[in-house]
Every structure is written in C-alpha cells, then in structure tokens.
C-alpha cells in the first residue's frame, strides 16, 4: 500500500475530496497554452513589450548614465574655470578692475594637484583684426582672414591646459616674458592662409604687425575657438593692445589631477589675489553623482510611464484572451466539473494559464531587453550596466500582470453551472 504523509479525510458518502495536484495544474496549463500556440504568442506580446520596455529603459538609462559619469570623470572633472567676479566694484570703476595678476600661471601652478593653468582672452579692441599672410592687406579684401578668424591672447600655461596636438612648438614663458612677436595658428586658419609648413619660419600679419608662426594646433580638448584663430602670448598682447578689455575679460583654465578639482576651485581665488579673493569666481566641475542622478530621474520617469502603459495593455490583452477562452471552453468546463472538478479547480486552471502566459511573456521580454541593452552598449563601445535588482524580478512582474488579468475570467469560469455548460 502506498504510504501517504497526509491521508485525505473522507466525506460521509465515502468519497475522497476532489483534488487538483500542483503537478496536474502545471501540465493542464501547459496543455491549454500549447493548444493554440499562435494565440498564446500574440497574447503574450503586450507583456513582452511592457516588461521588455521596463527592463530596457532601466538598463539603457543606467548604461548611458554610467557613460556620462565616465566621460565626466575623464575631462570635465579635471577642469576648473576661473572668471572675474562681475560685481559693481569691478565694472563701475576701472581703478578696481584688476585682472589676473601677471604671474597668475605661476601662482596657480604652485598649488598641489594642478597640472597646468593659464589665462586667455579674445582681443576685440579695434573692431575686427586684419589677419593675412602678407603685409599691406586692406580690411575686408579676400586676403584678409580676420572676418572669420579671431585674435586671441593666451599665457603659455593655457596652451598646455587645453592639451593640444601641435605641429611645431608652442610659445613658452621666454616668449611671453619678452613680449616676443610670435604666434600659434589654429589649423583651420593656417589652411586658409596657405601656411602648411613651419620650418620655413612663416609669418602672419595682424594689423600689419608680423608674428612668427612657431606652431600650428590641429586639435584641442577645450577652448576650440583657438583652432580658428591666431593666438599670441599674453604679454605681447598687453604690450600691443593693452590689458584685456572689460567686455571680453580674461578667463583662466586650470587642469588638475583627478579628484583635485573641487579643492583647487576653493584655493584658486586666494592664490591669485590673497588680499581680494572675491575678485574671482572659480567654477568647479559639477558633482558627477548629482549629474548622473539627474539624468536617471529625468529619463526613467518618462519611460517607466510608457512601460507601465505597455503592461496595462498587456494585462487587458491577457484578460481578453482568457475571457474568450473561458467562453469557448464552456463545454470543457462542464465536462471537468462532471469529472469531479470543483469550481475552485476550474478557477485555478484558468488563473494558472493567464499567470504562466504573463510569466513567459515577462521572461521573453526580459531576455529581449537584456539583449537590446547589450547590443546598444556594444555598438557604442559602452559598458552595459544592468541592475540585477531590476532584471531578476522583471519576469515576476509579467506573472503578476497575468495573475491580475486572469482574476475576473477565472471567477467567471468558476461560476459556470456544469449542467448548463454540458447542454451545449
């Protein structure tokens, strides 16, 4: 005799209570779903989309914001910009308008954690400069490149801070200190002026003053304006054009070691002018964590609403299909009742079918979404970032949707009277 741990109680009539074993529910459910595979697949579609959208949105935003954080760390996190404070004391009276000290580069570069630092400003004193490869060119003629090109003053430290790729050399502290008439050309302007080689010591004429080209910069990490213009040493510029004008004040760019930027931002104004540190405003890079969080909140909020709508559509789809299935299978319900099924067994079967439908939809959706995130990350050379806390329970969301969707149809199925159903 078979030994049973839990012997079922018997009714007064001697019959054992009807029973629908878990294993039987499972196989009946799978049989029910595979009867009409096409319909089951279509029904799943809503859940696939909903759960897929949910996982993909979370995965893509975490991947993208991971990238934002990464880029940020590399470039922006090592940059501090210092400008002159724009308060009345500076603007109103030119007596107080003290720009950066002459030894600004040295003052900042002394700080621990600074890689390089320098000031720069556009020179806009007398309308547009006349820039040409030969002397005696009139403004506005075709040989004058001043219309599209700019004239800039920069300290030697700035040229290092923008991390350029250069042909030739950059002007250095010697040129700057002596006010030498040298310049660095942006690649775009050099092409325009027909200057391709620098070993012939070519010159550029700015307002008929000759500047020897020491180098051509092809690319920069920051201050891309310099690529289209002539850059001369800041002392030379002060000598020829005077100090930086009030409408285009000098700015300082500090490149720091990784992680030093916030500290340097605090120290820079004091180092520049200990007696009046409020003349300067140092802008540190934004906090990467804050930046990342902002991005995540903005994007995910919107897309999760869309994912939710998909899930609701999926739920309606499953509810509808299950309801139609109940109507179609009325005779089967009657038969099962005649074969001993209780109303709750009927309900359990339809509920299990809709839940499994939702679960499979959720699994498929999660798989597709994970693949999508991976493909997007691969094509963009990003690192895919997927939070297990969202990926692993995602199929269960599908199951929950299926369960909810099946509630009403299965209650209806349970209420079907067997004698009515069998008359069909």
């Amino acid at each position: 005799m078979r030994f049973r741990l839990c012997r079922a109680r018997r009714f007064g009539s001697g019959a054992e209570p009807s029973h629908f074993a878990l294993w039987d529910i499972t196989s009946e459910t799978l049989a029910g779903l595979t009867q009409r595979p096409g319909r089951s697949l279509l029904t799943m579609l809503g859940t696939v989309l909903g759960v897929g959208a949910f996982v993909a949105v979370l995965g893509l935003t975490s991947t993208a914001s991971g990238q934002i954080g990464h880029r940020f760390t590399v470039l922006a996190a090592t940059t501090v910009t210092v400008t002159l404070a724009e308060d009345e004391s500076n603007v109103a009276s030119s007596d107080h308008l003290q720009g950066f000290p002459a030894d600004a580069d040295a003052r900042i570069e002394r700080l621990n954690g600074v890689v390089s630092a320098g000031v720069w400003w556009p020179i806009t004193n007398n309308a547009q400069p006349v820039i040409s490869a030969a002397p005696g060119v009139w403004a506005g003629t075709s040989e004058d490149a001043g219309g599209s090109a700019g004239l800039y003053a920069a300290s030697p430290g700035l040229l290092h801070s923008i991390d350029p790729t250069v042909r030739g050399v950059l002007f250095n502290a010697f040129h700057d200190a002596r006010g030498e008439q040298v310049c660095v050309l942006g690649a775009t302007l050099a092409k325009r002026l027909g200057i391709t080689q620098i070993d012939t010591r070519p010159a550029v004429f700015v307002n008929d003053v000759a500047y020897t080209v020491v180098g051509i910069i092809n690319d920069v990490k920051q201050v891309p304006d310099l690529l289209t213009g002539v850059t001369i040493p800041s002392r030379t510029a002060e000598h020829v054009y005077g100090p930086p004008p009030g409408n285009s004040p000098a700015k300082m760019l500090i490149r720091t070691n990784l992680g030093a930027a916030p500290l340097i931002a605090k120290q820079a104004p004091i180092a520049l002018r200990p007696e009046q540190p409020h003349d300067f405003v140092a802008i540190p890079p934004p906090d990467p964590h804050e930046l990342r969080d902002n991005v995540e909140v903005d994007l995910t909020g919107l897309f999760l609403v869309l994912a939710g709508i998909c899930l609701i559509i999926g739920m309606v789809g499953i509810a509808n299909t299950t309801f139609v299935a109940v109507l179609e299978r009325t005779a089967e319900i009657g038969l099962r009742r005649a074969l001993g099924a209780r109303a709750r067994h009927i309900a359990a079967q339809f509920l299990a079918e809709s839940t499994v439908l939702g679960l499979i939809g959720g699994l498929v959706g999660t798989a597709i979404a994970v693949a999508t995130v991976l493909i997007v990350a691969l094509t963009k050379n990003w690192t895919a970032v997927l939070n297990p806390a969202t990926v692993i329970p995602a199929p269960l969301i599908g199951a929950g949707v299926g369960l909810l969707a099946g509630l009403y149809p299965s209650v209806r199925a349970a209420r079907i009277e067997p004698q009515e159903a069998l008359r069909r």
Partner: protein, 229 residues
C-alpha cells in the same frame, strides 16, 4: 445488499414566476447491476432527472441514496467528489477535448480524484481495450468516427469504476448502425456488473435495457412495454 440508487419523493422546482415543477415526486429503486432506461418526451423532466441523478443539480426535496448514502443534501465539495468518483457520464455530444488523444481524454477522468499519475495511463489503456479501441489510443477525436468517439467517452466514464454509468442520449448523434455498435458496448459493460441508467427518447435504445420507465410531466410511470423480470 443495498441498491445502487434509491429515490424517494424527489422533487425539483425551478423558482420564479411562474415556478415550474420539473420533478413532482420521483420514486425509483435501481438495484446494483441493473440496466435501466428512462424514456420520455421532451419537456417531461428527463434532463432535470438526469442532472439530479448525476449530482449536477440538487433536488428541492426528497431523498437520493447512492450506494445507500443520502447525497441529496450534501455540499458542493462533496457533490463534486462523488460525481468524479462514483458516477460516469456519457453525453450525447461526447464532450471529448479536441486537442487530446483518446488515451489523454480517458486520463482526464482521473485528474481530480487522487489517482496516482503513474497508474493513470495503464488504467486508461485497460478500459480503452475493453471498448475495443486498442488501436486508436493516440488518435485525436477529429480523426475518429462518431462511434469511436462515443466509445472513448464510455471508456472515460468507466475508468474510475463508478457505481453508476449515466448515459444521456448516448446515440443521439450517431447513425443507426453505429448506434447499435455503441449500444453493444454498453451491453457488454453491463454484463461485467455495471449499473447503467440510460436517458433517451428513442424506444430502440430503451429496448436494449433490462427495464424501462417512462417520465411524463415530472412523474415516473412503469413502461407500457414488457419488462424484463
């Protein structure tokens, strides 16, 4: 030895205006192993009596003893259990699941009554053999003839060794030659000692039974045909 079925003053009234008395005091005793036919014109209460006998419906009043135990007033859970274990149904419309093979359709009858899974196929195969369908075990209903389908249904009804085999117009959807064959199967089942109640309006079907009673206006009458002793 108790009778398979004893009915005492069974009534069934459908409420609501106006109330309809479908059964008006049915008294009936079916000894074990008896083959009984219940005949009657449509609207006489055949279906209602069939539902009461099959525990698909509850009588308004009266006593219904199945195997000597009163089942007229039992609750839903117990009625489902008794239905599944003590009564085998054969329907006019066969009611086979279209996507399941003959064997799987028979096994369905063992789904709810705690039969061990491992033994279901073996038992089902045995009853299918009994009704002569050994060669059609894995055929789908759509590929079977009407007679074969009804034999699958008989096998399904028999697989739990019920106290009562309840047939509702078992040949209603069959031509006369096939009907004869199916009635032959029923007769064979009967010879093994099975209690059978057939509800029909067809005198030819009733003629195969040992005894026939006629229901008219909710009351049973002895048949005007000669009765087997």
């Amino acid at each position: 030895m108790t009778a398979a079925i004893t009915l005492h003053g069974i009534t069934r009234t459908f409420p609501g205006p106006p109330p309809i008395e479908a059964l008006r005091g049915i008294d009936l005793t079916v000894p074990r192993g008896r083959y009984l036919a219940i005949m009657g014109p449509s609207g006489a209460g055949k279906s209602t009596l069939m539902n009461v006998l099959g525990l698909l419906d509850r009588p308004t009043d009266g006593v219904y003893e199945l195997d000597g135990v009163d089942v007229a007033g039992i609750g839903e859970a117990e009625r489902s259990a008794v239905r599944g274990q003590r009564i085998g149904f054969v329907f006019q419309a066969f009611h086979l699941l279209p996507h399941r093979s003959a064997l799987e359709n028979v096994m369905l009858a063992q789904l709810y009554n705690r039969s061990p899974r491992s033994k279901r196929a073996m038992r089902s195969r045995r009853v299918l053999e009994l009704v002569g369908l050994t060669h059609r075990l894995h055929a789908l209903p759509a590929t079977m003839s009407g007679g074969e389908r009804q034999r699958v249904a008989i096998a399904r009804a028999m697989v739990n060794e019920p106290s009562l085999l309840l047939c509702d117009e078992p040949t209603g959807n069959l031509d006369s030659a096939t009907a004869d064959a199916v009635l032959g199967v029923l007769a064979e089942v009967h010879t093994s000692g099975q209690t059978i109640v057939v509800i029909t309006h067809d005198p030819q079907v009733a003629a195969r039974a040992e005894r026939t009673v006629v229901i008219r206006d909710g009351l049973l009458h002895a048949s005007e045909h000669a009765e087997a002793p």
